[in-house]
Amino acid sequence: MSRKIHNVIEALAKHQDTDSIRVLDELGTNCKINEIREQTSRALVRKNTHEALRIVIVNKGKGINDLSAQVAMTTINELLALRDKEEAIKILEDTINMHSEKEVQDTARSVKALMMF
């Protein structure tokens, strides 16, 4: 990953405009390079907003449900490092109760257990 991509993702992570979440979701989390997906997931968790957290928790193949163990673990670590975990736990509970995929539900349950610990 080049320095330019790294800096742009970091800038989008710190950007106040909510449209930055859409850009990170469209370009970052769908990228085939693990490193970029990892940095994007981290950026979305740091935003700590409902929309950003939903992307990394609810979607299959993104964030905590990523096929790459490294990306998933980085996202979980970032969730655990959040100071205000209230929104993340709320989304995790909704995912456990209402998501159609059992695999996503199980992952959410595990992450929630870690966050409550």
Binding site: I5, L12, D19
Partner: protein, 148 residues
């Protein structure tokens, strides 16, 4: 007839064995050949393995010490070869690192726009002040360059 207990019988046998062993040891002490090699029944001494061309008492002192010196030189040569091999490996790895660093530096010089230090407008702080649409375009372009 006296009845011999098994214990007493074994003690007597052991005494006989002890005496035989002592006699055998006395015979073996007669020679000092550690290899135990015989030549037509005669035990050979160690001295027979010494070189027949050995010169004693005559000739130059340097010539007399030459075989010993040769052994020392051979030993030192082997040690030096090992030492040189380890030095060679260190030099090769150091050279590889220098080459890698030089390649990275060249990449920085050829693409200065990607490094905040050389071009501060591409730092995270400066990029954060730009609109999202512009950042989106930049990210698309950078990803296209990466071949994504």
């Amino acid at each position: 007839m006296e009845k011999i207990s098994p214990l007493k019988a074994s003690l007597e046998t052991f005494k006989q064995f002890k005496i035989q062993r002592a006699e055998k040891n006395e015979n073996s002490k007669a020679h000092s050949n550690p290899f135990g090699i015989t030549f037509k029944g005669t035990m050979l001494n160690m001295d027979v393995f010494e070189s027949s061309s050995k010169k004693t008492g005559s000739g130059n002192a340097i010539e007399n010490h030459f075989p010993t010196m040769a052994k020392f030189v051979a030993s030192a040569r082997v040690a030096t070869i090992n030492k040189f091999n380890s030095i060679k490996n260190s030099v090769v790895s150091f050279g590889g690192k220098i080459k890698q660093d030089a390649a990275q530096m060249m990449e920085k010089i050829t693409n200065p726009e990607t490094y905040a230090l050389l071009n501060p407008q591409y730092s995270v702080t400066m990029l954060g002040k730009r609109p999202v649409t512009e950042l989106e375009a930049m990210l698309k372009e950078a990803l296209a360059v990466e071949g994504v």
